[in-house]
């Protein structure tokens, strides 16, 4: 073992002063980083002693190891960061004792290290209750990579598992066991889950979700002993009351205790319930000794979260570098996803004050806000729906006045909680140009009345464009608040909004743009109103979209039935209904891609994208794909895209319905439907939700009795969770409900408005949607179904139709006057494929 010099640096010898860091966990590492950033690594000798053999890793995302991450993915630093900065790391060793008077540390291998400053960052240890049997083989804790690897190894031979502890950590461990395929039971001493954060209502909401995932829960149960087999393996748990539980593996996740043993042994002051006591400088009672992270006790509080620890690490690094800095406590709002359930805690939810609680057992949401005597928000807990989180964080910090809590928390009015009117002025709306909500509001106050105006004077919305719909909502909300009328006109050529135009077209039977703009608009149209009219004509079934005058109306993508790319070439995406594809079709796609030298990539929508086709190549490419039995995937249209599926009951051991078949049937039913924005669907075969149905415009999840229908979800720039519309529908009921929902959306949504925004803006929100779609309150159900039936009957693959007609093919040329390929399209090869040479 290499010997470390033991002499203490001082001015007389000229050697550098030594900073000793005890513990190389998240916070200890953060300290090293902060020290390097401040140049301390060149003025000081930094020595790190860490018990774990691995260099610091991301403990917060530990569970990702059961989700495909490797230990290397969790590493917090590049492997050579310490070496390059000259930081000495001694791993696999502990510091066991400090002689604070002599400024000397002694390690488990007997090594002596003299320090000028010592930083204790030893974190905490899992608490294992003092009951018999916890040392049996198959009993684990959940804190380190080694713990998780041992759990995975042991679980391979097991069918059942138990977790002791129903708090944050316990639920995380339960999820891990679930992912390992174990039948899992959570045992909690308190009468509810997450007893520290939640009250009974919140606990019940969480229970609903957890049990829905197939995890059993026993609350109010005190484990009395770990039962073991004669050969010393875990067999289950016994309780002070009630039946024994069988389990071949037990994880203890019942809380943590600060690892303050060296501090105790070395005479440092520790708190009553543990933790090395520190002041605002993070200094302990011993000279030149600091403590940071989970081992530290500041103002009587030990933080079990990483953010306050990081703040402490920064304070100590700054002070050692001669800067002023102090740790004055932390309000640590937290938002987590536990077993797929969003949970958030803000401020101090246990504060004394009036409580506003909104709970909906049906959807498993529960929200509580505590308001103090002065009327300020003191704390809040949200389960199941955390939309109100950003506003509540601002409210607790006092940067916004107390919002109207009922409307903030109520799902109906509020998803209004996430509505734009409630966003704080500081919120960044356009990330491309860093434009805040306040700037946009001011622009409206200064006279902007439309999104176009706002784009002009703030640049917001002129980058990627993903914030445009939000800007629209902000403008409308501001105008309404100022008592002005909201500009609903589609564009300078039409006073009407998109839904009004739809009604006009439907009622009058007008099917040409020329007539529409003459009778109901002005001028000759533009790039906004023309595609809207084209989409409405298409939704109302006016045949091939590129015939006659319609050709001039289509967006460039629709005009060439392909998506334009940055270099002016196009992409080709064949439809793969439900993601199911035959080997022969895969081969055909591969052959086309090879023969036309197209860049090939699997999309996020379970299909295959072939990129880099020149206009004049599109017909030949599609000719071959169609011969192989494929058809247009309409990736280019504002229309139905994909119906994602999971493997479902045919193969999957958990599936309860044939999700693939339903997905294919739905995709074949709705393919080609043009809409105000794109529409995505998904079908999962069970509640494990592998198809991510709850993030789709229409999501279907199989149940034992039928299908649950979710609506209004999307990913994109402003992700939205879909909302449960109806449960346990038969396939027939399901299809009828989706028919109505989609057609109603097509009729009444604004241009480029996805279902989530549309349904939120409807008066009465999702309840209204439920009454119209499920109870036919408006009496338009039959009409909507008939419109959909007409669409289904009239569907034809647009590429098949195009290839049938030489006239239609005439437009697919790079130049009208020569067969030369476009010389501006140039490529380079990367990873064996062709990509555009940078065009900008």
């Amino acid at each position: 073992m290499s010997s470390i010099p033991t002499q203490r640096g001082d001015r007389t010898t000229g050697s550098r002063p030594t900073v000793l860091v005890v513990g190389n966990g998240m916070v200890g590492h953060r300290f090293v980083e902060a020290a390097i950033e401040r140049g301390l690594s060149s003025t000081h000798r930094i020595v790190v002693v860490g018990e774990e053999r691995r260099q610091a890793y991301d403990r917060v995302h530990l569970s990702a190891l059961f989700d495909g991450f490797t230990p290397a993915d969790l590493a917090l630093a590049e492997p050579n960061l310490y070496d390059e900065a000259g930081v000495e790391a001694i791993l696999g060793e502990t510091v066991d004792r400090l002689d604070t008077a002599a400024h000397l540390a002694v390690t488990s291998s007997g090594r002596e290290i003299t320090y000028d400053a010592c930083v204790i960052a030893t974190g905490s240890a899992p608490f294992v209750p003092p009951i018999p049997g916890t040392d049996a083989a198959g009993s684990f804790v959940y804190r380190t990579i080694d713990d998780l690897e041992a759990i995975r190894h042991w679980a391979a031979g097991c069918r059942t598992g138990a977790v002791v502890g129903g708090g944050l950590l316990g639920l995380e461990a339960a999820n891990a066991l679930r992912l390992l395929g174990l039948e899992t039971t959570v045992v909690e001493f308190a009468p509810r889950l997450m007893a520290v954060q939640l009250d009974d209502g919140g606990g019940r909401a969480l229970l609903h979700h957890v049990e829905g995932l197939g995890v059993s829960v026993r609350t109010g149960a005190a484990a009395a002993a770990v039962r073991t087999t004669p050969d010393g393996r875990v067999a289950g748990l016994s309780f002070s009351e009630g039946e024994d539980l069988d389990a071949e593996l037990v994880v203890f996740a019942a809380g943590i205790r600060p690892r303050d043993q060296i501090a105790r042994d070395s005479g440092l002051e520790v708190g009553e319930r543990g933790g090395v006591i520190i002041d605002d400088r993070c200094a302990t009672s011993a000279e030149d000794v600091y403590a940071i992270g989970e081992v530290a006790n500041h103002a009587g509080k030990v933080y079990g979260l990483v953010a306050p620890g990081y703040a402490m690490a920064d304070v100590v690094a700054a002070r050692l570098a001669g800067e002023e800095a102090a740790f004055t406590g932390s309000d640590t709002p937290t938002k987590l996803k536990l077993l797929g359930v969003d949970v958030a805690s803000v401020g101090d939810p246990q504060a004394v004050g009036d409580e506003v609680v909104v709970s909906d057992p049906r959807t498993g949401t529960w929200k509580k806000v505590v308001v103090d005597a002065a009327g300020n928000v003191a704390g809040a807990v949200l389960v199941g729906d955390v939309d109100a989180y950003p506003l509540l964080v601002q409210a607790v910090r006092g940067s916004i006045p107390t919002p109207d809590l009922l409307s903030l928390l109520q799902p109906a009015s509020g998803e209004a909680g996430s509505g734009p009117a409630d966003l704080p002025d500081e919120a960044i709306i356009c990330s491309c140009h860093n434009v805040s909500c306040g700037t946009i509001r001011k622009a409206v106050d200064d006279g902007c009345e439309t999104v176009a105006d706002v784009k002009g004077c703030t640049k917001a919305g002129t980058g990627c464009g993903s914030c445009v719909s939000l800007i629209g909502e902000l403008v409308d909300a501001r105008l309404i608040a100022a008592g002005k009328t909201v500009e609903k006109r589609l564009c300078p050529h039409f006073e009407l909004s998109r839904p009004e135009l739809y009604e006009v077209v439907r009622a009058t039977g007008i099917r040409t743009f020329a007539e529409l703009v003459t009778k109901h608009g002005t001028g000759t149209g533009c790039e906004i109103c023309k595609p809207v009219a084209a989409s409405i004509f298409a939704s109302l079934g006016s045949g091939y979209i590129l015939d006659g005058e319609q050709a001039g109306l289509q967006d460039s993508n629709d005009h060439f039935l392909a998506n334009i790319q940055r270099d002016g070439t196009y992409s080709v995406v064949p439809r793969v209904p439900g993601g199911e594809i035959t080997p022969a079709q895969l081969i055909a796609i591969g052959e086309v891609a090879r023969d036309f030298d197209l860049y090939t990539k699997i999309t996020g929508g379970q299909r295959i994208d072939l990129l880099g086709a020149r206009v004049e190549q599109l017909p030949a490419i599609w000719g071959r794909l169609i011969d192989a039995g494929l058809e247009s995937g309409q990736a280019y249209g504002k229309s139905v895209r994909t119906v994602k599926s999971c493997v479902g009951s045919v193969w999957c051991r958990y599936g309860v319905q044939d999700s693939v078949k339903l997905a294919i049937d739905l995709e074949n039913r709705y393919r080609g439907l043009r809409a105000p924005h794109k529409i995505k669907l998904a079908v999962s075969g069970c509640a494990r939700e592998c198809a991510e149905a709850q993030s789709k415009d229409v999501g279907v999840i199989a149940t034992e009795k039928g299908w649950n229908l979710y609506v209004g979800g999307n990913g994109g720039a402003r992700p939205a969770h879909a909302v449960l519309l109806a449960e346990d529908l038969s396939t027939e009921e399901l299809v009828r409900s989706i028919d109505r929902y989609l057609m109603w959306y097509v009729r009444t949504a604004d241009r480029l408005e996805r279902t989530a925004v549309w349904q939120r803006k409807l008066p009465g929100g999702i309840d209204f949607v439920r009454r119209v779609v499920m109870q036919d309150e408006l009496g338009i159900g039959a009409e909507l179904e008939a419109d959909m039936e007409a669409h289904v009957g009239a569907y034809r693959c647009e590429w098949t139709e195009t290839l049938e007609s030489p006239e239609r093919l005439a437009r697919f040329v790079s130049f009208v006057n020569t067969d030369l390929p476009d010389p501006s399209v140039t490529h380079v090869r990367v990873r064996g494929q062709r990509i555009p040479e940078t065009t900008r």
């Binding site: 001028g523 000759t524 790039e527 005058e549 460039s556 009208v816 501006s824």
Partner: protein, 123 residues
């Protein structure tokens, strides 16, 4: 900032025949190579034809012929299919950023054939 066409040409005196007017869908454009330069040619119906450089200066892609034609307060425009900036079909100037322009070309129709004069002019 001024972004210009790749090359500035002197205005030629000859006309180059490009295609039969029937190849142009009213309200849509086509691209042509005129003396080696990519040109976007538009027919707005009623005999109105326009030609401007085909390379969209905002993206560098040769695509303006594939944009949607319309009008802004009566000015005939095309919107680039890439990032949607609009150009005045008469002058080539961008409506959305006055400092940017593409060349405009003279066009005429003789005996049903569209002709373009090579070497456009920048406004």
């Amino acid at each position: 900032m001024t972004i210009t066409e790749p090359e500035l040409r002197t205005t030629a005196t000859t006309w180059e025949p490009v295609c039969d007017l029937k190849r142009l869908t009213p309200g849509r454009g086509v691209a042509a190579l005129v003396d080696g330069a990519p040109v976007a040619l538009f027919h707005l119906g009623e005999g109105e034809t326009f030609a401007i450089g085909n390379v969209d200066p905002f993206s560098g892609a040769s695509v303006l012929s594939r944009g949607i034609v319309g009008d802004v307060d009566g000015v005939p425009t095309v919107a680039s299919p890439i990032y949607k900036q609009r150009f005045d079909l008469r002058t080539g100037r961008s409506i959305d950023d006055e400092t940017v322009a593409v060349s405009a070309y003279d066009v005429r129709v003789v005996d049903g054939i569209c002709e373009v004069r090579p070497g456009g002019t920048l406004p």
